[in-house]
């Protein structure tokens, strides 16, 4: 899988997305059992959720960016399987599934009462259509996750069989993401403006530049959501977002952008503050193809020159978690690797001296994202104390940064949050902007994808330790899942580990 690991296409989006993903986790158990569409306890209550990055389009099959699945996935579109709060893959539109002994054939039993918002019933034929369409019509690079599929066919209206070319743990996991979204054959004509899905909400209205409105799907096949109407309201300015909650314009800040301002809410019993983890690793990336980084002592020196605790305190108000590799604590193979390269200024200086990097000038090309700009200034200061010279160069995000740093790898150092789930392999790759070419790592990753669950966990642990010990980059911290909401609101996720912001479990007590 070579999926893009960068979340977001707008300045604030990178951070924004993180939070959204978190919400999905809680949804797990809601799927499935209830078949009768009873009345919803929420009646005609409505809710307004403040988010930071408005989608540029509603079509995630051709438009990159985290904001679209954040809003639509799980809420308007559903997939066959989804992740529960603990990261386990659980049923959604597929009631159950079996895997063949060679781990190449998956047979899904589908629910029989799901309907698209265009009134067409959901059948195995739609599933086949959706899976094949990823290969044929999608243009975003994420579609490569479906390359491993050899064939998808409908055994019956409620039974789907998917055959892979080789065993892949990654495939089923990716089916929980946007890649796995189920479309109606007759509902893909205007994806950019009119999404059609089977989800508990239907798309009602998009006031561009302002908000997206969802309404409860009264024909939903599963448990109907509490709220009759939910508005996703988009804010570019973090302070405006906070003010909107303070003055009652919105009920939830889906993702806090200004952690320093959190004190306004923590002391106030009108609000609840949720703090958990996300998949968003804030990476200080090295351009490993450059000669200066070919010496591991340079990379190691940089890692040890950074006082991660002080950095986190300074640029993210101490919220967030320190990590030592590209693995969030919610992944099954998570290990504490923060001690692989502890802060040690003297050691860092001598390493940089030894490698000859001391005194050299490095370009730190930062995307114009608030956390990157903030952390960049701390990184510059800390690296300069260790004997490097650092020049900060702002690159407008997304357009300029994506071209200069991401595509052309014209940079020495950069900072960005990689918010895709399970993105270690994709980020540390010779073709990626990190230009990290390491056959040993690739071996571990291949073994993890092909092996059984124990082998997967074991090999992923090795991979995580490998990049940490090799200092393929420096993990500054893990973005926190920070949500502030009205006190009486329930169903908010502790950790944000999926691509979407789950609105379906929200309720008022």
């Amino acid at each position: 899988m070579k999926s893009s690991l960068i979340r977001g296409t707008l300045p604030t989006r990178t951070v924004a997305l993180v939070a959204s993903a978190a919400l999905l986790a809680l949804t797990a158990c809601s799927a499935g059992s209830s078949t009768s569409p009873g009345s919803s306890p929420g009646g005609d209550q409505s809710l307004s959720v403040g988010l930071v990055a408005e989608p540029a389009s509603l079509d995630f099959t051709t438009t990159d960016g985290a904001a679209i699945p954040q809003a639509l996935l799980g809420n308007v579109y559903e997939s066959l399987v989804k992740q529960d709060e603990s990261g386990k893959i659980v049923p959604s539109l597929a009631k159950s599934w079996t895997v063949s002994p060679d781990r190449k054939t998956y047979t899904f039993d589908l629910v029989d009462n799901a309907k698209f918002s265009n009134d067409k019933p959901f059948t195995a034929a739609d599933a086949v259509f959706s899976i094949n369409r990823v290969k044929s019509a999608w243009t975003v690079s994420l579609k490569s996750a479906m390359d491993v599929v050899q064939e998808a066919k409908a055994l019956s209206p409620t039974q789907l069989q998917v055959t892979l070319t080789k065993p892949s743990n990654g495939w089923l996991f990716r089916m929980t993401t946007r890649i796995g979204a189920m479309f109606s054959e007759t509902g893909v004509s205007a994806l950019a403006t009119t999404p059609v899905g089977t989800g508990p909400f239907t798309f009602a209205k998009w006031n561009r530049g302002d908000s997206i409105v969802f309404e409860r799907n009264e024909n939903y096949w599963g448990t109907k959501p509490f709220f009759n109407q939910i508005t996703l309201k988009y804010f570019k300015d973090p302070t405006a977002l906070n003010n909107a909650l303070l003055t009652g314009t919105i009920n939830v800040i889906g993702t806090v952008q200004a952690p320093e301002a959190l004190s306004q809410f923590t002391g106030n019993d009108k609000y609840q503050v949720i703090e958990g983890t996300t998949n968003g690793e804030v990476l200080l990336s090295f351009n490993n193809a450059l000669p200066i980084f070919s010496d591991i002592r340079t990379r190691q020196g940089i890692r040890q020159a950074i006082d991660h605790r002080a950095l986190l305190d300074t640029c993210f108000a101490g919220r967030g978690k320190l990590i030592g590799s590209m693995v969030p604590p919610t992944d099954p193979w998570s290990e504490d690797l923060t001690n692989v390269a502890p802060y040690d200024l003297a050691k860092a200086k001598s390493l940089l001296q030894a490698s000859g990097a001391a005194g050299k000038t490095l370009r730190l090309r930062l995307p114009t994202l608030p956390y990157a700009i903030s952390c960049g200034q701390v990184v510059k200061s800390q690296l300069e104390q260790a004997g490097l010279k650092v020049v900060i160069d702002q690159q407008e995000f997304p357009a300029q940064w994506l071209t200069t740093v991401f595509k052309n790898a014209d940079y020495d150092l950069s900072i960005i949050a990689h918010v895709e789930p399970r993105d270690l392999g994709a980020v540390f790759n010779a073709k990626y902007y990190t230009r990290y070419d390491d056959p040993t790592l690739q071996q571990y990753l291949a073994a993890a994808d092909a092996g059984d669950e124990a082998a997967q966990i074991d090999n992923m642990k090795k991979a995580a330790r490998r990049i940490s010990e090799q200092a393929a980059g420096d993990w500054l911290f893990l973005l926190p899942n920070l949500i502030v909401a009205d006190k009486n609101l329930k169903g908010l996720p502790q950790n944000a580990i999926t691509e979407n912001f789950d609105l379906t479990r929200l309720a008022r007590s």
């Binding site: 302002d210 003055t247 997304p398 357009a399 071209t403």
Partner: protein
């Protein structure tokens, strides 16, 4: 008068054509392939090529220019590379929003500036005039977004009288529309009003020195009626110029206030367009802004003629 009208119209048309070339040329030199940016970095080369073909990005620039211009003239703003949505309706909606905001701001500015400037001029040696002068100097020195932030802190967060931000179209909920409009319009209006006050003051001071005002007083008009009947129209000429310029500047200048108050206006659309490299959208928005300014200037010119009969004869 007719000659003047024809001349002005000709100038307007030439300006429109020249600026459309400028805007198009400027956008053409923007670095980055719009198709690739629209599709994201991970897009395949085929997909990029397809999009380029779809939007005709490979054609010679003059062809692209004339197609674009022709579209604009027909009211067809084209389709966004990024959102695949029609640009026209978006620009129209956003323009309306900004227009509401700017007009409300200008009304406040005028309501503040006209009396304040007049009093400052009439009492320019007295304490009240000097005090007003000092206040207006301070008003001019405060950035509009800072004024907005302070207004929010006070009236929305601390006192809770008005919403901190947001926008509701007037047709949807007129009450909410007004409540949400007050603070942003105030932050634009007070700052612009302070600027305008100084022009009103100077215009009124000029008029107060005019002989015809003395003639009016000699006729038996008391000072204020004399100023009202004989001064306002004359003082209005320079003030209208400034007003026109302010209106033009504010269409884009409001973007800062739009940001603070989360208002989906034209300026915000432009900023989004720029960061998404939604090239055609940016091009359209810039063009709309430029056309608006040119048309406002044109109208100001006509207004001069209405205000000052001396301009009605001959060309100048």
């Amino acid at each position: 008068m007719i000659i003047r009208l024809i001349e002005r119209t000709a100038v307007l048309l030439v300006s429109l054509v020249v600026s459309s070339v400028l805007v198009f040329a400027f956008m053409a030199v923007l670095p980055g392939d719009p198709a690739r940016v629209a599709l994201g970095v991970n897009a395949s080369d085929e997909a990029v090529a397809e999009l380029r073909r779809q939007f005709g990005l490979g054609r010679p620039l003059p062809t692209q220019y004339f197609d674009w211009l022709g579209g604009l003239l027909r009211g067809d703003f084209g389709t966004s590379y990024v959102s695949k949505a029609e640009i026209g309706p978006q620009v129209f909606d956003r323009f309306q929003v900004t227009l509401w905001l700017v007009l409300a701001g200008m009304v406040i500015a005028l309501v503040v500036a006209a009396p304040a400037g007049t009093v400052m001029a009439a009492r320019h040696r007295k304490v009240s005039g000097l005090a007003l002068s000092a206040i207006s100097q301070l008003g001019v020195a405060v950035p509009a977004f800072l004024a907005g932030i302070l207004l929010i802190m006070l009236f929305a967060v601390k006192l809770g009288w008005l919403p901190a931000n947001g926008w509701t179209p007037p047709a949807q909920d007129p009450g909410m529309f007004v409540r949400q409009l007050i603070l942003p319009a105030l932050s634009l209006g007070l700052v612009q009003g302070a600027v305008l006050t100084r022009y009103v003051r100077s215009a009124v001071l000029d008029v107060l020195r005019e002989d015809y005002l003395r003639t009016a007083r000699a006729k038996g008009l008391r000072p204020f009626p004399a100023l009202w009947r004989h001064g306002i129209r004359n003082a209005a000429v320079p003030v209208v110029t400034v007003l026109g310029l302010q209106l033009a500047t504010l269409l884009i200048g409001a973007v800062v206030v739009e940001r603070v108050f989360v208002i989906p206006g034209l300026g915000s659309l432009l900023l989004d367009g720029v960061s998404n490299r939604d090239l055609l959208l940016v091009q359209d928005v810039v063009m709309v802004l430029v056309v608006a300014v040119l048309v406002v200037n044109f109208l100001v010119d006509l207004l001069y003629v209405a205000l000052d009969p001396r301009l009605r004869v001959g060309s100048r």
